[in-house]
Amino acid sequence: MLGELPLDINLKHCKACGICYAICPRKALAGDKLGKVYMSDPDKCTKCGICEAHCPDYVIFVRRDKK
């Protein structure tokens, strides 16, 4: 689907710990003013899933069915 991000992010549960954007090997994620995650560069995302696996709050889900 056009315009859809590779990651599903449930911001309501994000506690701004910063693990996901520190661990992202491609720097596709970043923190906003409050430290909560957003996709700063979706094109760089390879859907490796390392952010999903290390988010302690289950905020991130990789949409594996779509590019």
């Binding site: 701004a16 910063g18 661990i23 988010c55 302690p56 709050d57 289950y58």
Partner: protein, 274 residues
């Protein structure tokens, strides 16, 4: 969360109460993934815990769960397993819960080789009560009760479990989440006492006081300080200094307590009939 994992959680109870960057959430998911992948019957699975931040985990998991008293998770779990040996019984416990107040239950459950899957969340500290040192706080580390550095030596909990009689022992970390999941599955498949030490992190009460940086830095530390046992076998001892081993540390099947108990009952019944 991955849609296929949602049935394993009480989704309405999330987000959990753990602090930002607490490793416990990563470990809880690894347990859920392991249960899912192992294919065991969720309706025949019980998760028991004691008291502590880690022991809050079963409250978020969609199983028959038991949040018991401090240090006594293994005693409750022993009763559950003995009363109904066909249940898969998991124990979620912390380093304080399992090795301080619950230390005696720990060694005797291991000694009996009762078929329990114990996942010990080790964050090196009493997280829930604000950061007192535990028997797994490394020597020299700061805690509220060791402001100048811990003078005590810490347990190596896998070694203790092996010496006490556990038949399966492994160690993973929040960083090595896939390994952790695989170890938990191996523990499920082991008929006997399985101890999986899961290295967690407490940025709030341990990391900050010991200047270890934020949660991401503490995860990175797990990555750099851990060496897989298989790789370690090929390394000279000086290369292992300051490192800890991860992977399958012990796998030696032994007679299981509830099976031996049932055998004894069957034998005595037969004798009584004759």
């Amino acid at each position: 969360m991955r849609p296929d994992l949602q049935e394993l959680f009480r989704m309405e109870k999330l987000p959990h109460i753990w602090c930002p960057g607490c490793g416990h959430g990563i470990i809880m998911r690894a347990i859920a993934e392991a249960i899912k992948e192992s294919g065991i019957d969720m309706d025949k699975t019980v998760i028991v815990s004691g008291i502590g931040c880690s022991s809050r985990a079963p409250g978020y998991m969609n199983f028959d769960t038991c949040h018991t008293i401090h240090g006594r998770a293994l005693a409750f779990a022993t009763g559950i397993k003995l009363a109904n040996p066909e249940l898969n019984v998991f124990v979620i416990t912390g380093d304080g819960d399992a090795t301080a107040i619950g230390g005696n239950h720990f060694i005797h459950a291991a000694r009996r080789n009762i078929d329990l899957n114990v996942i010990l969340f080790n964050n090196n500290i009493y997280g829930m009560t604000g950061g007192q040192y535990s028997p797994l706080t490394p020597t020299g580390s700061k805690a509220t009760t060791s402001p100048y550095g811990n003078v005590e030596r810490n347990f190596d909990i896998p070694t203790l479990a092996i010496a006490a009689g556990a038949s399966y022992v492994g160690r993973g970390t929040a960083y090595h989440d896939k390994l952790l999941k695989d170890l938990i599955i191996a523990g499920i498949n082991n008929k006997g006492f399985s101890l999986i030490e899961a290295i967690s992190m407490c940025p709030t009460s341990f990391g900050r006081r010991n200047k270890l940086g934020n949660a991401a830095k503490m995860l990175e530390l797990q990555k750099t300080a851990a060496i897989n046992v298989k790789a370690a076998q090929k390394l000279p001892p000086e290369k292992l200094e300051g490192k800890f081993l991860i992977g399958e540390l012990h796998n030696k099947p032994a007679p299981e307590f509830t099976e031996e108990y049932d055998k004894l009952i069957a034998k005595l019944r037969k004798e009584a009939e004759q």
